[in-house]
Symmetry: none
Subunit: 204 residues, 4 copies
DNA sequence: AATGAATGAGCCTTCATTCAT
DNA sequence: GATGAATGAAGGCTCATTCAT
């Protein structure tokens, strides 16, 4: 699985070759220079195409940004869903969420970095509504999934709205630090620790 | 305690009145428009001063940004130190870190919002070195403080580098959501829950 | 008589259907958006064809513009000639010129609007020479026609070069105002007034 | 009286020197290249200033355009008012309107050319409302002035809304032709003819 | 004949920063 | 210390036109 996979899955075929090319290099630029500091010209220069072609395919800078952002989010969510489907208890679910999160970030560090960086610009741009809708959907699905497990023996912290923060908060914090080179050890090496901690943090 | 307090503590006196004025309005602009989207002219317009005056006091845009950023970070750190000094056990320390974090964010929402937004620009700008040094210092101090408590009875997760993420990760995640209006309940209302969860997440 | 008539007369048959289609919608765009502001893409979007097809039929933007312009001018001139042919005195001729002008504008408001708007762009574009030739021809024909009437009893203002302005100046001025919605009453309602005034204005 | 006079009257003093300079050269460019075809860069190059200075003073291209347009319109109107104030009968008033119109165009051919060219762009731009208000005012004032003369002996054509067209239509038509070099004789040479014709065209 | 992806020169505008007053 | 006019590099974006399919 590589970064091209994410794009090929979503923009398949020969016709979309340039589109994928542009997106791939735009991702690089956004990460390397920052979202705001990335210019259309910089992207153009990297993929050796023309401004016109970029605008033909994406309309404007926001178009590239949001296309990338939603592709990344989509891939991350699909990955989560796939893993979560296999679980049969709350404990397994928590372990699955944490592990798949860490695995995805380590497998796609560039996409992960971008996801952290691009959220705020997208949330302020013309696609903010679409972002909101997607967030609400993801939240709802997660909630239903987790609440579907009956817990006879174990008491869980209340209310639900803090639970997502408890589950992924530490992993997210560590992954950000890792992507910024503030820590060196791969998040994958801490799958067990973060999963177990998340599980413990939920109990009461 | 209000937002003016942070500035008055650090830039006291009549001579610095304009400086405080500019910083206060710049904070507002950065939060409202975004760091990159805030122009010197926008700040000028809000405090009814002149471009010249702003440059006289801060040299350039980065000057305003970093002054604000380090003031905010400083205040947050001071608050933490003050609270942490009172503690006598690891458990108390964890509770203190989490609680003071949540309290500070709720007491200074504008400064907190700014802190999240401005970190990345500052980390890329000319003050990145100073930021790094400060981060390292804070990390070291925290580490020493926490390791100073002997824990005979309780086993704590290893290694240390994931511990900060376990402690503040969930709180940070929730506070971001709160400041972005994605959740409504004040982080203060969850002091107990986040503290207890952090404490449990550390144990093994 | 409708706007399609002008195009059908000049570009008849099934083969020219797309050509007429493009011209019709281009006319709309030029009037609605302005000549300069109208883009090939806007025209394409309105007739649901392709850029390629437009270029195939007209070569470039000026091609569409001048085709429309000369079609409109032609129709107006034909109308005038037809009316003028029936007259037998200078007075009748003046009445005929003014009336047919007003009638044509009211019958073809879109084409009239376009004629006013497009003259200057055409006069600056690659067809300026053709425009000049046509203007000179029309001027000459009108002059000959008017001078063909002997006027024994009535003295007419001199020299000839101001006469066209005296005849159509007021009507043109009023029609522009009407097309711009600055006045509401139809020019047709003032056929008698403008004709009589033109006739009087020529006498000495 | 020269073209600089119009600007000096409205933007006096040393402080406004650059402003006048820019306007003067912008007028030249608009006339020479056409309103749409004139670029900020072309204006900049002609007055040897910077883009920034232009935007500092006028905000944008429309700002320059409308400043010039309203200055020209204002000057023309002032001239008319001044002449009209001396008149004591309807006949004198008509002669005065026509003559002052012709005189103004001949005295300020560049400004006159511009006035014809710029009306439509201004009427479509952000200052369209101001244009409308001014037009309405001018129309009202003219109407009141003309209706203030009692005409016992002479019957005048009705209704009033066609009268402005009858008075200035021919002169305007001829002046446009003159400015476009389609006729050579100066409009001033036809003061008497256009005035007398206008006067006759009103009678019934 | 028709299509629409691709080109790239050029436009308007922004904005951090300087500097004479 | 304060002011704001002036600078000019740079960015996002448009659009007429071409051309391979």
């Amino acid at each position: 699985m590589n970064k091209d996979k994410i794009l090929e899955d979503r923009f398949p075929g020969r016709r979309a070759a340039l589109k994928r090319e542009i997106l791939e290099h735009a991702l690089y630029c956004f990460n390397e220079l920052g979202v705001e500091a990335t210019t259309i010209d910089a992207i153009k220069a990297r993929c050796d195409t023309s401004v016109g072609a970029i605008y033909h395919h994406f309309g404007n800078k926001e178009g590239i940004l949001s296309t990338l952002f939603f592709a990344a989010q989509d891939d991350q969510r699909q990955n989560l869903e796939h893993e979560l489907a296999k679980t049969n208890s709350l404990r397994e679910a928590i372990y699955s969420i944490v592990s798949s999160y860490l695995d995805w970030v380590v497998a796609q560090p560039e996409w992960a970095r971008f996801l952290y960086q691009a959220r705020s610009p997208v949330a302020k741009g013309p696609f903010r509504q679409e972002l909101k809708v997607r967030n609400a959907q993801n939240y709802q699905e997660l909630k239903e999934k987790l609440l579907s497990f009956e817990n006879k023996d174990i008491k869980i912290v209340q209310p639900f709205e803090i639970i997502p923060s408890l589950i992924v908060g530490p992993s997210e914090n560590y992954c950000r630090a890792w992507l910024a080179n503030r820590v060196r050890t791969s998040p994958r090496d801490y799958r067990e620790e973060f999963s177990e901690s998340a599980w413990r943090s939920l109990q009461r």
